[in-house]
Every structure is written in C-alpha cells, then in structure tokens.
Symmetry: C2
Subunit: 425 residues, 2 copies
C-alpha cells in the first residue's frame, strides 16, 4: 500500500478534527483510494489539546517548524491561523518541497501571489478547500467543474455568524445586539465578533472565490464591504412584508471588462432557495454561461466540516489529483468597478417627522438624481412623532443614490439614520 506522510501544524478545533477523522477513516480511505494517509507529526504548544488524540508523545512537537525539517513529511496542514507566523511557515514548507493544505482565508486573501508563485516554482501544490464555506466543496467546483465555463456571477452567504444573527432577527424579531448575544452563547460568535459581523471575513473569502471564478489577481482591498450591525428589526419586518429575506451576501459579478466585488446586507426574494439558507449554514450560488445557475449549500464552519474539507485536500495530494489542477492565472482583463458605478435596486428606510409632504420631499431628492421609485410604504400616521418611510427603487446607479441620500439627510424632516439595503435577484 502506497503511503502519504503528513504533518499537522496546530491541534486546535480543526487540527484535532483532522487527526481524529484520519484515525477513524484511515482504512476506508486506503481501501477507496489506494493510498494510506499517515500523520507523522503534529505541532502544538498546548499539551492539553493533544491529550484526547491518539498520538504518541513522540509525534507531538511544540514547534511547527520541526515539521519542515522532517524529511519524511510530504504535506503539511496549516491550521495555525493568523497571517504572520502562518505565512512564514507556509513559505518555508513550500521552499522545503512540501505540499500545503490550509484553511486560512485571511492568509490567502492577503498573500495569494507570494504563496502560489512559490508553490509553482517549487513544483508543489496548495489545497485550500477548507478556507471557504467549510465542508462545502466550492473550491473544487470552481477549479474543476467550472474550469471550461465562463462564470458571470457568484452570490454567496459565507459567514455563519452573520447568517445566524440575521436568521434569529427574522425568526424572533430581535435586535442585532440580542441576536449577537445568542450567537455568542451558542459558540457561533467570538468574544470580539468584529471580523465576522463587519463583512471582513466574507470579503476575505470572496477574494478567493472571485480569483478562481474570473482568473484575476484580486486583493482584499478590491472588495467593498459593510456588515450587518445597522440592520434593524424594522428593516427585516418591512423586507418580509415585501416578500424578501435579508442576507449578508458576498457578490462577485462580471460585466464586460469589469468586476464588482462587494459584501453587504441584501434583500433576496423569498421564493429563491438562497433565502432559506438559515442559521450557521453557508451557500455559494454560481452563474455559469453554460452550466446555468448552480448553488452549493452546507455547513460553513466547525470542527468536522473543516476537517472533512482538509482530508479531501489531503486525498487530492496523495492520489496525485492536486497536481492536475492548474492554478488559475491572471487573464489580465478585469478592472474592479468602483462602488459608485454599481447598478442595483435599493431598499431605503428613512426616519422622518410624521408631517404632510414628507414623502414628496424625499421623492424629490431621489427624482433629482434620476432614481426612480418602484414602491413606497408609509405606515399608519402617529401624529407628531417620527415614522419610518420605506422606499424601493427601480435599478439605479449607486453614486446617484448616495448623492440623493446626502440631499435627503439635509432635509429638516429627517429625524434618524437612513438605512440602505441593496436587492439581489
């Protein structure tokens, strides 16, 4: 039986999962693929994390760099996280002629070219299925199934924490803060949830998907992103009444020679399956010129889904499959479209004094920028108070909408912050 020797850097939640899954399924994998995957060494400073794993004391080393100096190790799994030590470790592993499998989206979004150029020059491969959408095989789909097609759009739910919060707000009418607390108590949100709820984590993952989809050297700074903290229960209620769900979407769209890359809360029609991707689930919708619309859905994070993606990558390396996938290089054609030049339909909620003529004045500001209104909701009047005024627009240019919102904000009838959500078909 052919063997493939692996070293695992990091025995936290995911790294420990990889060890346990390989242990349980080693014989099945060998029977199904013809290759036995052997964990030679694992690196972890925290001995407590290794106690429950079936590793001998000699197999666990404190310093990940020891994996690199072990000549028997053919492939290293990087599940250390962060971008400083992890980058150093990955580049040294590649330089030593080892393949790399990583779950580190921030590392890839920020240092893609350094890593893949080094791997190409050294003749090794880098697997990263676990970096995006956990156990959902989206990297494989883009690199293999869609490599002969022309992808025009990706619409994705890539952050389980944000999706859990929005789902909870929808189901229970709760506020962002209350739903965030629930997410924390269930272990779905970090103590500092900024990376997740700000849209930055989704933006990291979108860089990876857009690179594979469009064959272009996109960077993290190319992505416009905003998070979900401004979404209020009222917006979710209005959206529901209008036949929509609110989702934090990561969007990559190709149009002629430009690409839009953006992450923000979106209205999606209740009738589409993506509107029903709830809780911590992720999904990635791919529009291909030939394949049509495909959507992948599944668990976007967590010990076992991430471990399953890493094990699949290890099998790709062990069977030689990883070497058959050409890294998609820049076709050098796509410019990133500035956010002001994006076209969309908009949901806008103004908070305004409850006086006659208010809607007319708001509509006037929009009309002056050629932003056309498709429908408006002005709930029952509460004399003397402040009321929400909700407007849905026809397709309009973002720059014009932003200009109109600035004009509206100068009106003396506006009493609170305006909420802007975009619609995605």
């Amino acid at each position: 039986m052919q063997k493939h020797v692996v070293g695992i850097a990091g025995l936290g939640v995911v790294g420990g999962g990889v060890v346990a899954m390989l242990e349980k399924n080693r014989a099945a994998i060998a029977r199904r693929t013809g290759v036995e995957i052997v964990v030679a060494k694992a690196a972890e400073k925290d001995a407590a994390k290794t106690a429950h794993l079936k590793l001998s004391s000699g197999q666990v080393v404190p310093d990940a760099m020891e994996l690199i100096s072990d000549g028997s190790i053919e492939t290293v799994v990087e599940v250390i996280g962060g971008t400083d030590f992890a980058l150093d470790f990955v580049l040294k592993a590649i330089a030593a002629g080892k393949n790399v499998v990583t779950a580190n989206k921030a590392l890839l979004a920020e240092h893609w070219s350094d890593i893949f150029d080094a791997a190409r020059d050294r003749g090794v491969t880098v697997g990263f299925e676990a970096s995006t959408a956990g156990g959902v095989p989206v990297i494989r789909t883009l690199r293999e199934a869609y490599i002969g097609d022309n992808i025009t759009r990706i619409v994705a739910i890539l952050n389980g924490t944000s999706n859990f919060i929005l789902t909870r707000m929808t189901a229970e009418g709760s506020t962002f803060n209350s739903a965030l607390s629930a997410a924390k108590s269930k272990g779905y949100a970090e103590a500092d949830p900024t990376l997740d709820v700000s849209g930055a984590d989704s933006a990291h993952k979108l860089v990876i998907l857009a690179r594979l989809a469009f064959g272009e050297d996109f960077a993290f700074k190319d992505v416009y992103y905003e998070g979900i903290s401004k979404v209020e229960p009222a917006d979710i209620r209005f959206a529901t009444d209008l036949g929509y769900r609110v989702k934090l979407l990561a969007l990559a769209k190709r149009r002629d020679d430009s690409a839009e890359l953006r992450v923000h809360p979106c209205l999606v029609k209740e009738s589409h399956p993506i509107a029903h991707v709830d809780g911590v689930y992720n999904s990635v919708l791919i529009d291909g010129e030939f394949a049509g619309q495909t959507m992948l859905y599944g668990e976007g994070a967590g010990r076992w889904p991430a471990a399953s993606a890493i094990v699949a990558d290890l099998i790709d390396v062990a069977t030689g499959r990883a070497k058959t996938v050409a890294p998609r290089t820049s076709e050098g054609k796509l410019k990133v479209r500035p956010m002001t030049e994006v076209d969309a339909r908009y949901y806008i909620r103004f908070q305004a004094l409850d006086k006659p003529g208010v809607l007319a004045r708001i509509a006037g500001c929009l009309g002056a920028q050629q932003v056309s209104i498709s429908s408006a909701i002005q709930p029952e009047r509460r004399h003397g108070g402040s009321v929400p005024v909700v407007i849905l627009t026809h397709e309009a240019r973002e720059g014009a909408v932003q200009k109109a919102l600035r004009d509206v904000s100068g009106l003396d009838v506006i009493t609170g912050e305006t909420v802007l959500l975009r619609e995605e078909e």
Copy 2:
C-alpha cells in the same frame, strides 16, 4: 500545446451543445488547463442536425463505429441514448483503448459492472457527470470531495419534469394532467412522459448516486419507485396548510448493514431549502458523518448544463485528473432493505362518507397495527357527501401502514382511492 483528441457520438441537443461549447471556449480551456481539446470527428445520421455546427463535412460521419476505428481519437463522448447500441458502442470504444464520457443514466444503471470492469481492465476511464443532475457537479462531489467521509443519506430531486409539474400544481392548484400539458407545451416533458413521471428516471440516477455514496453494487431492480400521477391538488393543499411542500424525492439511506433505496412523492418541511427547489431545477442533499449536510442545486437537464458537465469530464480526462479517481468498488456489506421494513412518517388521505364515527373507524385500523396518529384533518362536513380525511402519523413501519390501509379499504365508509405520501426530514 498538448492536444486531446475527441470523437462525439450523436449530434442531437446535447452533442451539438458540446461541439458548440468546445468551439467557443477552446482557447480559454487551453489557457486555463494547458490542454487543447480537439473534436476530430462527430457521428450523426441526421445531416440536418449538423448544419449549424462549425464542423467540416469530413468531420461528420454517419456511423458512430467510425469513431472507434479512428486511431487518433483518445476519448469518445456517448450522447446517443438508449441502452442497446449505446452499450455496444461504449464497450467497443473501451476495448479499443478509448476513454468514454457519457450522459446515459439508463446505460449506467443497468450495465455498470460490464462497463467499469472493462474500463479497469483496459486502463481507460469513464466520465458520467452529465448522467445525473445535469450541470450540478454531484458525481465529482461524491467521488472526490466525499471519498474520505462516510455518507449516511442522500435526498435528491432528480427529475425536472416531475418537479416542474409539482411546482405548477402547488403554484396554481392545477391537476396533474393540466400541469403535465403545461410541461409538454414548454418542452419540459416528452410526448410519452412515462419514464419521467413514473419515477423510473429518478431511480436510474439514484442507482448511480447510491453506488458512489455507499460503495455497493446496487442495481435498478433494488430501487422501490413510484411516480407523481396519483398526487391530487387536494394533497398539495393539505400539505401546504401543514407547512410542507410535496416533492418527488430519490432517497438513499444507510442504516447499519442495510440501505434504503426509494423514489416517491414526499412531504418536506417548508423551512428547508430543498422545499424551494422549484421548476425544472434538480438538487442533491448529502449527509456526511463529518461534512454534515451539504446540498447541491442547479439545472438538471438541457443542452448547455449537460454540455458543461461533459466538457468538465473531457477536461478531467485531458489533464489526467480522471485517472486519479479510483472507481469505487463494492465493500460488500450493504443489503437492500425491503420497502415493508422502512420507517417513516406518513401523510394519508382517505376519501370517506361524511358520517359520524368514520374517523374513529379509520383510526382503529391504524391503531390495530400500532400506527400512531400525530394529527388529523377532517374538513367541514358536507352532509351526505364524501369528504377527505387526512391523517399524519408518527414514525411507523411501512409494512404495518400498508396492512392498516388494506384494512381501511375494506370499510364500507371508504368511497375513493387512498393517497399515501411519506415525509422526509
């Protein structure tokens, strides 16, 4: 530039699509993969089908067997259909040392071992992504992404015609026959729709998915299947009122040493994304022990989705990737569980005289078989007429339910055919 030479047997809807897609994307595929895919010859008897394709007259031959005698052709695409000539063609192509890419689910469901044994012995590969769920990369997902996991269940919508009909019945309250006419007029149903609406087409595809998921030599005869023609608008209405959608599901479940393989209309909870797979779309949900629940969704048929799957398979062969995928061989452990031993929750609609005591007598028959009722709907009484009585059961054994239904059918208050639908979580 490395070249891979291909012959295409059949220039109908899908074969013509493959030629056109390769023509349009040849340069992009070569740039992205390093291999140029060249169509040397295509076989088609009907000259009218080839007129719009960019093929020279010398490239089109009337007899598919000419592709086999052409020594330059490395891979043949079989899109002839049927199981007689197609089997002969595929086996001869394999014997001549050619790889095969096919969209033919009936051929694979009925002659799997003949084909794959021959291919293994001859050292060639057989690609079949287009055979199941069209442009949705489910074969790749099962053979590559999930090969290290343990799959416990597949729940799939695999027949676009049936799904279109059920979607239409749900949206418009129409009958099966009226929705079938609509499907025919839109080109979604054949003149003879039996294969699609009887569940047989889904059963063919389920054999393929279950083989890949469980590594067992399942045959078409192992699948219990029933179609959708008995579903009435009243059932869809009741299901909707109860929070369900009705879908024709193909189910493969593993439990200990047995597997359930069945195709029939099912109630699925409205809150799950699979309930919102509408129209001619397909979807495949996979439960993996490690990966958790994953669902793939997309266009299950049609010229371009099928062509895109075939082109992806051709790229797999051309890049050497196809050779890295071991054909999953029998692990020889799973027995097929007889339908009478299946456990499920049931929706049962009786048509009965509107008289006092009817529900009690029906419930008595169920209770005598230890089938426990979870809820019952007996609509407003119409004196003297016949009314539907709908019962939802707790989990029960199919054999017991069938015995109870036979007992109920003997009651003098039953006036029409009983409809039985199963629920899937």
